[in-house]
Structures are given as structure tokens and as C-alpha cells.
């Protein structure tokens, strides 16, 4: 009897081993709801794309777990007294995936490309760069036309990923991608999966992980699995090691204790109300305030995300320079439907004449459900908001077009906008005229925003940044709702160890090991 039992168990084990062997023990499969848009860091803005670049490319500087930039591919740097010239020294022996040396020439190639004929989509975040000069293979200087406080942190972000100049123009970003990061591109089957293999030459110089060299896993497979339930099923069977779980199942997963739930911190993500201020009704501050008072983000996120995210009062997220909940709350809009109704009544709206508008929301992360709750809350004070769901690229364009159309007879819209950035310079990019969305802008705010760029000394800069925050909140232009807001929850299988999510949602796989 005993021997039969043992035989059975042995058989089951053999079967399990065979099943494991099919997918190779050292392949890590990470499933996400969508695919990267491009492997070219200058051709996309989505988090889904950025997280793939993180693996293929490396950056001159790197964030530590607190989000402070430090040396990485660049060993050291100096800033001239006028603050306009940066001189960087590269580490020796960095190799591109094709075996060529990574030098100052590659840095110049990357930056020139970002400002070239088909400039990077996030060109302005590089700052007012006028020239990159190669001094010697390991030294280069960057000249600016004016002081730019957010330059150093930008060099630690993957939008500043370093691209090797040996890349082929025709295929780069779609079928080829040569960088210096911990993984090399093997194949990208669009809409299905990105296959990466460990870069044996990789040396970790600045990432906040223990492994000093190449990743322990052989391959990293980033798979697209749109349905949350499917991802969960695949996690349960072991087909997938890491994935975003369905939010409604997180509590059950935690109770069961098999999968580990990881919630990323310091994501820099901010979800906020943004309004078309060029025409009625939101050209009137009272209408914007009414929306702010009438919505109860805490209740909504409790229902949809069940404690996985936080109420965010500030226009920049937790972990970003300048964020201070107590400070922001002072100028914020706590849930107060009566106040909202009073403001609407002042404007001439009432039970017989509701304020009609449309709310834009982008797809994914259950945001449409959140929007439905906000829609119901707004309806209670007499704001009738239709919902339009679209992808983020379309929303960016539509919001801008709305603002630029000040004569339309249609009521102005508002939107649940989302931004993730590592520095309060995002406020400059959003609100300094002409502004990312051609939205609210004036000379006073412009002057205040310019000061946040040209003031470098931290304490002085904090004052400038908080002045802007206060201004944006008092004018009900940028009303924080919650943070984080997308792709920040990970369920991890028990045999996986060492998975880490760095600040600003950079997943790091170099420490990852798979047991068994």
C-alpha cells in the first residue's frame, strides 16, 4: 500500500517536472494586459512600452529606491557655475548588445535623434538642450540655453534610454533594438509577446538591486494577456509567473496566500480632473469647483480598488518632489455635495436645468468603472456627464482639441487625466503656455512655472513648486484624485524571488531567481 502511494507521488512529480521542463526552468513569464507600442523610446509614451525599454536599454543615471538619481552608465558629472553646461564621464567597458563599445558618440546619437527630424514624442522633457559635444570616447558635454532643474532626474528615467548608434534605421523599434540593458531582444511578436534573453555582458552600475552583473534568469518573456481572469488562471497553473491580477480578486488571493501581491510604491502616478477651460461651463471656476466638491474619490477607489491605492490631494504624486498631503489638502476640495449644489445654483443651474457635459476616460485598469461611480455622484448634484472611453493617445489629442475649440456650441468637457513623472517639472510641461493640452494658462502662472525650472537649490525650489501647486488647486485647474492608478499591482508566484519594482514603476528583473 505504502509503496503504491509513493509510486503515485513519484509519478505526479515526474509529470510536474516534465510540464516545468517544457517552459524551461529559467524562463520568466510576465503577463500584462497590453503590449508595448514601440521598442523605440522616442516613439511611444505608454507605461507598457517604457517597462520593456527598461529591460533592453540602460540610462546614464539611475534612481535609488527613494527616487534619487545617482551614477549609472555615467560615473560622474559636473555642472558649470552658470548651470548651463553639464560634463559627464562614462564608465569604462560598457558593451552594446551587438558587441560594439558604448561611447560618448552613442550618447550624442541618442540626444541628437531625440531632437531630429522625427523628434522624440517627449522631446521637451530633455530640456532646452542646444548641443552635445563629444570630448573623448568617455566624456561629453551637454549645453543648455537656460537652466533646467529637471535634467538630472530625467537622465535616470527610461524616456532618456541610451540607444546604440549601430541600430538600423528601417527596423529599429519594431524588429530590432540594440541597447546596453540587462536583456537583449530576441523577438517581438506584436500583440503577443516580447522575448528577451539575458545580456551576459551586463554590469549593474546603479540599479537598486544586489546582483552586480547579468540577470540570473535565461530569458524574460513579456506576454500580452488582455483579460484579467485569464491572467489569474495562467498564474494559478504556473504558465505565467508575474501578472496584474483582477482587482476584485486581490483580497481572495491574499487570503489564499499562494501568490504574493506586490504593490509598487513611489510610482509618480497621479490621476486628476482636468477641464476644458476655454468655453462654458468650465471657463467658470465655480463649475470646476462644483465637480471637485461633488466627487468622492475615497469612496470610489474603495469600491473599485479596495485599498490598493490612495486618495491623492496633490497635483504631483507621492514620492515626487513637492508632494505634501497636508499642504495640498489645505487647498483641496473635500467631498461636499451641498457646496457643489450651491455653486451650481449660483451659476443658474438647478433641478430643472442640469449642467450637461462629457467626461473623457481612457481604457484599462478599471478606470471606466471608477468613471461610472463619479458619473453617478455628479448626477446627484445635478451634473449630467456622459462618459466617453478612448485610448490614452486619442484622449490626449481630444483634450487638446477641446481646449483649442473655444467657439463650439457644445458644452466643454472634462477628463480623468493621468500622468506619471519623476519630477514636478510635469507641471511645467502641462501648464506652461502653450501647454501640453493648450488648457488653462496665463502669464502669472507661466512666470511661476519658469521659476520652478530655473531654481535649482532644493529648499528654494520646493517653495516655488508649492506655490504652483497652490495656484493650480485654488483655481481648480488640476485636482488630484488618487495615486497610483495603473499597472502598479503585481501578483507573483511563490517560486519567484528577487522581483523588485523600482520607483516610478520600473520593474527590475536582474535579481530574479526561479526555484525548483
Amino acid at each position: 500500500m505504502v509503496s503504491i502511494k509513493a509510486g503515485l507521488r513519484g509519478g505526479a512529480l515526474a509529470a510536474a517536472l516534465a510540464a516545468g521542463g517544457a517552459a524551461q526552468a529559467a524562463d520568466l513569464v510576465w503577463a500584462r494586459y497590453g503590449d508595448a507600442d514601440s521598442l523605440d523610446p522616442h516613439r511611444a509614451t505608454s507605461t507598457l512600452s517604457m517597462q520593456v525599454w527598461d529591460q533592453i536599454y540602460d540610462t546614464l543615471l539611475a534612481f535609488d529606491m527613494e527616487g534619487t538619481p545617482g551614477p549609472n552608465m555615467a560615473e560622474s558629472w559636473e555642472v558649470s557655475d552658470d548651470g548651463l553646461t553639464y560634463t559627464f564621464k562614462l564608465a569604462e567597458g560598457i558593451k552594446c548588445h551587438d558587441g560594439s563599445d558604448f561611447t560618448a558618440q552613442d550618447v550624442k546619437f541618442t540626444i541628437d535623434r531625440a531632437f531630429g527630424d522625427a523628434p522624440s514624442l517627449t522631446k521637451t522633457s530633455w530640456g532646452p538642450i542646444t548641443e552635445v559635444t563629444v570630448e573623448d570616447p568617455l566624456t561629453f558635454t551637454v549645453a543648455m540655453s537656460s537652466k533646467f532643474g529637471a535634467f538630472i532626474p530625467f537622465l535616470a528615467d527610461s524616456f532618456s534610454s541610451m540607444i546604440c548608434d549601430t541600430n538600423t534605421a528601417g527596423t529599429f523599434g519594431s524588429s530590432t533594438a540594440i541597447g546596453t540593458g540587462p536583456f537583449k531582444l530576441v523577438e517581438w511578436v506584436k500583440g503577443d509577446q516580447v522575448t528577451l534573453e539575458a545580456n551576459a555582458d551586463f554590469v549593474n552600475r546603479g540599479d537598486p538591486v544586489e546582483n552586480p552583473g547579468a540577470p540570473y534568469i535565461d530569458r524574460l518573456i513579456i506576454r500580452t494577456v488582455p483579460e484579467a481572469q485569464t491572467r489569474l488562471a495562467a498564474l494559478t497553473t504556473g504558465e505565467v509567473h508575474i501578472a496584474e491580477p483582477p482587482f476584485d480578486d486581490v483580497a481572495a488571493i491574499q487570503e489564499e496566500g499562494e501568490l504574493e501581491i506586490m504593490v509598487a510604491e513611489n510610482t509618480g502616478q497621479d490621476v486628476f480632473w482636468e477641464f476644458t477651460t476655454s468655453r462654458p461651463p468650465f471657463d467658470d471656476i465655480r463649475a470646476r469647483q462644483a465637480v471637485a466638491y461633488a466627487t468622492d474619490p475615497q469612496m470610489a477607489i474603495d469600491i473599485i480598488y479596495g485599498g490598493l491605492t490612495n486618495r491623492e490631494w496633490c497635483p504631483v504624486a507621492r514620492g515626487v518632489f513637492g508632494n505634501d498631503q497636508a499642504f495640498c489638502k489645505r487647498y483641496g476640495y473635500p467631498y461636499d455635495p451641498e457646496k457643489a449644489q450651491a455653486l451650481l445654483a449660483e451659476m443658474g443651474y438647478g433641478p430643472d436645468k442640469p449642467l450637461e457635459t462629457t467626461m473623457f476616460v481612457w481604457t484599462g485598469g478599471n478606470r471606466h468603472k471608477l468613471a461610472e461611480i463619479f458619473q453617478a455622484q455628479l448626477a446627484q448634484v445635478g451634473i449630467q456627464a456622459g462618459i466617453e472611453i478612448m485610448d490614452i493617445g486619442t484622449m490626449n489629442a481630444r483634450v487638446k482639441a477641446q481646449n483649442e475649440d473655444s467657439t463650439s456650441e457644445e458644452p466643454g468637457t472634462f477628463d480623468m487625466m493621468t500622468w506619471s513623472w519623476y519630477d514636478p517639472d510635469i507641471l511645467y510641461q502641462l501648464w506652461h503656455s502653450p501647454g501640453a493640452y493648450s488648457g488653462f494658462q496665463n502669464a502669472e502662472l507661466d512666470a511661476m512655472l519658469e521659476e520652478t525650472r530655473t531654481t535649482i537649490e532644493p529648499e528654494a525650489r520646493l517653495e516655488k513648486v508649492q506655490a504652483v501647486i497652490r495656484y493650480l488647486m485654488e483655481n481648480a485647474v488640476h485636482i488630484g484624485l488618487y495615486s497610483p492608478g495603473w499597472e502598479w499591482v503585481f501578483a507573483v508566484r511563490p517560486e519567484v524571488s528577487g522581483f523588485k519594482v523600482g520607483p516610478f514603476l520600473h520593474p527590475i528583473f536582474t535579481d530574479v531567481k526561479i526555484e525548483g
Binding site: A36, D37, S38, D40, R43, A44, T45, S49, P119, L121, T122, K123, T124, G173, S174, S175, V189, K190, G191, D192, T224, V225, P226, E227, Q229, T230, A233, A234, E239, T363, M390, D391, G393, T394, N396, A397, K400, A401, Q429, P434, A436, Y437
Partner: protein, 306 residues
């Protein structure tokens, strides 16, 4: 025969040609400035938009744009997507085999289930078998693809856990193929039944039966063969609708085919992708109909002279 095939190919070419005109016009009937809608993302200045307009040739008269578009098409260049700046043809070619696999598997299921059901119903005409088969068929026709898909998913993948929910291998092809196949089997069953009833009523079958030839022989020799002709003629259209149905079913099962990509493109208003998809779809359907027409002509030689 060669002439017939040439004629059919020419007709298919006309279809594709009209599709090229349609997709060129598509961008221009969009209300508003297409360049701004497509590329007016944050951080693009008016000057950059103008540069894009010139680069895409959208500043030129429409007939020049069309001529250039045709020129590029002949070189296999379908343009680049707005989102991520990817070559449209690459994206389509990666995904088409997935859709083709789904459509073919569904077609096999539809033909196997639908034709046997229809044949059985016609053969047992007027009995409860006939009635039962036809009730099944009308319910099948009324069943939304996506609901049938969800029900199968709920039953076989989530409750019984016999089949994977999604993936890319043949196991995960079963559920979507079954969904699409069964829905089309219902249509095919009804068509087969009436086609076969027409045949059974024809004199030569009656004669054969009267002559006392064995039932089976009659069925196979005469009825089935001539019954096949009108059904094959319909398969072309069936294939087109399978491809159309695949758009929905792919989205239910997250099957990485052309259909799932088309929906993403419409959502993102990625016009180069949408144009590429329509053109591609029209070409595939037109080619399929040529193949079916030729098969039809082989089965029924009369058609060539009509």
C-alpha cells in the same frame, strides 16, 4: 477554364481597387483635420503638424495622394501606424496566420456539424429529427457569438477547467473555433437542408429510389454530390462571414488575430492601421471567393458557360 479563372481574378482585382479608393477617402471624410486628429498629441506644435502633413503628402490634391498611395502599395508599403510608428504590413502579417487558423478550424467545424445536421434533417424530413435539428439551427443562428463564447469559456475553461482560457497554442484554439464554428454550423444546416430537399425532390433521385437502388448508394452517388454544388457556392460567403465573425470572437478569447487588432485600431483612431486592415480584409475575402468560384466551376461545369 483559364479564361474563367482570369475573369474571376479580374473581378477580385476590381474589388480590391475599389477598396483602395474607399480607404483613401476614409481619412478625408473624417470630420476635422485628419493630421490633427491623428498626430495632435500633447507636445506637438503647429509647425510639427505642418511638417507631418507635408511628410504624409496630405497637403497635396487628393488624386495625387491616391496615386502615391497606390505606388507605395505596389511596393508592399502600407504605411506606418500612428501608435508606436510600426510598419502596418508587419503587424498584419504577424496576425493573419492566427486569424486564418481560427477561420479554417471554424469552417471545418461548421461544415462537419452543419452539413450533417442539414443532411439528416432533409433525409428525415417531416419527422421529429427534422424538427429537432431545425429548432437547434434557429436557436444557433440567434445565438450571439460573443455570448456563446462566454458560455463555453465559463463552462469548459473556468468551471470544468478542461481547456485553457487563452494562449497561442492549438489547445486554446479549440474554444474560439468551436464558438465561431457552431454559430456558422447553424446557418449551414439550414442551407444544406433546403438544398438537399430540392435534390431529393428531383426526378433522378426519385427514379433511383424507385429502381430499388440501395438507399446509401442513392444518397452518396446522386444526392450528396449534386447537393454539394449550391453549398460550395455559398462557402465563399460563409468564409467572408467567418472572417467577420472572427473579429468578435478573437476579442472574446484574446486571440491575437487581425480582428483583435482591428478593434484596437478603431479605438485608437489609428487610421493607417484601419486602412491597412480594410484593404487586407477585402483582398483576403476577394481571393477566397475566387477560390470558391473555381471550385464551384469544377463541380458544376455548366457554370462556365453562363
Amino acid at each position: 477554364m483559364t479564361r474563367f479563372i482570369a475573369q474571376r481574378l479580374l473581378a477580385a482585382l476590381v474589388t480590391v481597387w475599389i477598396a483602395t479608393i474607399a480607404v483613401t477617402l476614409l481619412v478625408h471624410v473624417v470630420p476635422g483635420d485628419p493630421v490633427r486628429i491623428m498626430y495632435g498629441s500633447f507636445q506637438t506644435t503647429p509647425e510639427e503638424l505642418e511638417a507631418i502633413r507635408v511628410r504624409l503628402g496630405l497637403d497635396q490634391p487628393i488624386w495625387i495622394q491616391y496615386a502615391k498611395y497606390l505606388g507605395r502599395l505596389l511596393q508592399g508599403d502600407l504605411g506606418r501606424s500612428i501608435v508606436g510608428d510600426q510598419p502596418v504590413l508587419d503587424i498584419l502579417l504577424v496576425r493573419f496566420p492566427m486569424t486564418l487558423a481560427l477561420a479554417m478550424a471554424s469552417l471545418v467545424i461548421a461544415v462537419a456539424v452543419g452539413m450533417s445536421l442539414g443532411f439528416l434533417a432533409a433525409y428525415k424530413r417531416g419527422t421529429w429529427v427534422d424538427a429537432g435539428a431545425m429548432i437547434l439551427a434557429i436557436v444557433g443562428v440567434s445565438m450571439p457569438h460573443f455570448w456563446l463564447g462566454l458560455l463555453l469559456l465559463f463552462l469548459f475553461a473556468l468551471t470544468l477547467q478542461w481547456l485553457p482560457v487563452a494562449g497561442g497554442d492549438w489547445m486554446s484554439l479549440i474554444l474560439p473555433a468551436l464558438t465561431l464554428g457552431l454559430a456558422n454550423a447553424a446557418v449551414l444546416a439550414r442551407m444544406t437542408r433546403s438544398a438537399m430537399i430540392d435534390i431529393f425532390d428531383q426526378d433522378f433521385v426519385r427514379t433511383a429510389r424507385a429502381k430499388g437502388l440501395s438507399q446509401t448508394l442513392v444518397l452518396y452517388r446522386h444526392a450528396l454530390r449534386s447537393g454539394l454544388v449550391p453549398i460550395v457556392a455559398m462557402l465563399g460567403l460563409q468564409f467572408a462571414y467567418l472572417m467577420g465573425g472572427a473579429i468578435v470572437v478573437e476579442n472574446v478569447f484574446a486571440w491575437n488575430g487581425v480582428g483583435r487588432f482591428a478593434i484596437e485600431a478603431v479605438f485608437a483612431r489609428d487610421y493607417p492601421l484601419i486602412q491597412g486592415f480594410i484593404l487586407f480584409f477585402a483582398t483576403v475575402v476577394a481571393l477566397a471567393s475566387v477560390i470558391v468560384d473555381v471550385a464551384y466551376a469544377f463541380l458544376d461545369p455548366r457554370i462556365r458557360y453562363s
